[in-house]
């Protein structure tokens, strides 16, 4: 099956400086394929080039080299745009329009007419939870509500592929939960969702495959678990009711101890230590288990390491990498 989104050696240079224009490479030969029907996470720290990639896909900016296709059509294709939806990062629309009018305007551009158009607008406003506010001018909307309007306009045309740039930004936990369930719903409907984020947890909950971007280059891509499995570097054991004596006994055996509150400690164990032993000892001494979690690199730590590795060139391909670039 042909990919829903195909990106080949996509590169974007910006000219920096006035006199000697040294190019700044915002995106370096990105190559990715996204299959239809999947929810694909596009991860990376701020400034990694995620938004640049999305803008290249929407042809808001032009590539220095390389190409991209959506649904088999080149990115500039106007007809293809009828089948996709896009939510920009921190979206802003026209403050003098009401939510209703904005969606109506965009629906017109998609080719909806008359009663059909009104129905679509109503459906979407309801879907994102904008009721009475639909008649308010957008200048009166909060950030969260604007985000919801943004999602509505991205889904207006029942798109096959949806591009979301930092869809959770500015949302409170309730809002984020709504967006997550929306994305899952889209997946269940068989649509392709391509979203970018710098929050690992979001990707973890939604995606099967991800790509990780750092400094404009693809650091890794593949299934989530494969990529991050190797990055576990220890365990974190949180115990309560730890008496000072028990603590003193256990301390030399562990890598680090942090007091959370009197009697409650977070103990950091290294990978080669099986946590069961220490857990058993502590439980026997009367402490209670609060939590036991593998300690992973944050995404940022992962990037730092990865970028450093990529810099020196000393890097072996990782299991689970399907399209890593050098």
């Amino acid at each position: 099956m042909s990919p829903a989104i195909r990106i080949e050696e996509l590169t974007k240079d910006y000219a920096i400086g006035f006199w000697r224009r040294r190019p700044y490479r915002a995106l370096d030969r990105l190559t990715l394929d996204i299959e239809p029907g999947e929810v694909y996470g596009f991860l990376g720290p701020n400034g990694a080039g995620k938004t640049t990639t999305l803008k290249l896909l929407m042809q808001l900016i032009y590539p220095t080299s390389g190409r991209a296709e959506i649904l088999g059509r080149p990115v500039g294709d106007i007809a293809m745009r009828r089948r996709i939806g896009y939510l920009p990062e921190n979206p802003s629309f026209y403050d003098y329009l009401t939510a209703e009018e904005l969606l109506g305007y965009f629906a017109e551009l998609f080719g909806y007419k008359g009663a059909d158009r009104r129905k679509r607008v109503d459906t979407l406003l309801e879907r994102v939870g904008i009721g009475a506010e639909r008649r308010l001018q957008l200048r009166k909307f909060s950030k969260g509500m604007i985000q919801r309007v943004g999602i509505a306009q991205a889904l207006l045309n029942d798109p096959e592929v949806i591009f979301l740039d930092e869809p959770m930004s500015g949302l409170d936990p309730l809002g984020r939960r709504d967006v997550r369930s929306l994305i899952l719903e889209l997946r269940d409907q068989g649509r392709t969702v391509f979203f970018s984020s710098h929050i690992l947890a979001d990707a973890e909950a939604l995606c099967r495959r991800v790509a990780v971007l750092a400094g404009g280059r693809l650091a890794a891509s593949g299934t989530l678990t494969d990529i991050l499995a190797f990055q576990v570097h220890g365990w974190e054991l949180v115990m309560a009711n730890v008496s000072p004596e028990v603590l003193a006994k256990v301390k030399p055996a562990v890598r680090n101890t942090t007091e959370i509150s009197p009697g409650r400690y977070a103990l950091e164990l290294s990978l080669d230590q099986a946590p069961d032993r220490i857990l058993a000892d502590l439980t026997a001494a009367g402490a209670t288990l609060i939590s036991l979690n593998p300690m992973r690199d944050t995404l940022e730590d992962f990037f730092m390491k990865r970028v450093a590795e990529m810099g020196t060139g000393a890097r072996a391909p990782m299991a689970g990498d399907d399209h890593a670039s050098h």
Binding site: P88, L97, G150
Partner: protein, 268 residues
């Protein structure tokens, strides 16, 4: 085509919700009304004064609308980043430029119509109240339909100025666009002087340069037939047609150029 219309209607809607055009139209109407009062002071000449003022006000306020909205047509969308969502829809950059232009022309048309109607109402009132002896002394009838010729050319001129403003708006900031557009407006009105430069300077090269500039720069003074219509002098349809055609061709060139520039821009 439908996309152009949608964009145009949105521009019109924005201009209506932006209270600026309301104020201008109101102001113009007030000005025309006050000119009626001034006219009371100069026996017999009041019709001429009101026609002069009415046409001038229509031109000036139309100019303000053209420039102040024109310069922001594209740059505002880019600056507040609403262009990201818009251009991801099935609308091409060329359609965007055309739609923006059409929307502002629509706004202008509405405003000029309002001002024209107001002017004719006042003139009709004057015709109604002035005795026939004074009316006989007028160069042209009070509610002279030939005023429409001047207004027609004023409108085409405004279309031209709008196109200039839009053109600059595709690549430069609002302030710079305003300055440049206004500059072109002023130069365009002195354009005719360039044509006869060869009679004044000795250098052939300077004369050719001046003549070249005469042709390249917008020839705005040709659109000014206010004095003729106020004095009842003839303005032929041939002149109207050829001058209007010039305006339309120039506008087309500017819009194409604007599209060219806009199509190649990166929206960082």
């Amino acid at each position: 085509m439908r996309a152009i219309r949608s964009v145009a209607v949105n521009v019109f809607r924005e201009s209506v919700r932006d209270r600026v055009p309301y104020n201008l139209v109101l102001f113009a109407v007030l000005l025309i009304a006050s000119s009626y009062l001034i006219g009371q002071l100069t026996a017999g000449q009041d019709v001429k004064i009101i026609k002069d003022l009415g046409l001038a006000a229509t031109s000036v306020f139309g100019l303000f609308i053209s420039i102040f909205i024109g310069i922001g047509l594209v740059s505002k969308e880019v600056e507040r980043r609403s262009i990201y969502a818009l251009l991801s829809k099935p609308v091409s950059r060329a359609q965007f430029v055309a739609g923006k232009y059409a929307g502002l022309v629509l706004t202008l048309a509405v405003n000029v119509t309002v001002m024209t109607v107001a002017l004719y109402i006042i003139l009709a009132y004057m015709v109604w109240t002035e005795p026939p002896t004074i009316r006989a002394g007028w160069d042209a009838p009070g509610t002279d339909p030939r005023l429409l010729k001047a207004i027609f050319l004023i409108f085409i001129e405004l279309m031209l100025v709008t196109a200039i403003a839009l053109f600059f708006s595709t690549f430069s900031s609002p302030i710079l666009s305003a300055a440049l557009t206004f500059g072109f407006y002023v130069v365009g009105h002195f354009n005719a002087d360039l044509k006869n430069f060869d009679r004044v300077v000795d250098s052939k090269a300077a004369a050719y340069l001046a003549r070249g500039l005469y042709h390249v720069l917008p020839d705005l003074s040709a659109f000014d037939v206010k004095t003729e219509v106020v004095h009842g002098l003839p303005v032929t349809f041939g002149y109207l047609a050829s001058t209007a055609a010039y305006g339309v061709a120039y506008v087309t060139a500017l819009l194409l150029l604007a599209t060219f520039i806009f199509s190649r821009r990166d929206f960082k």
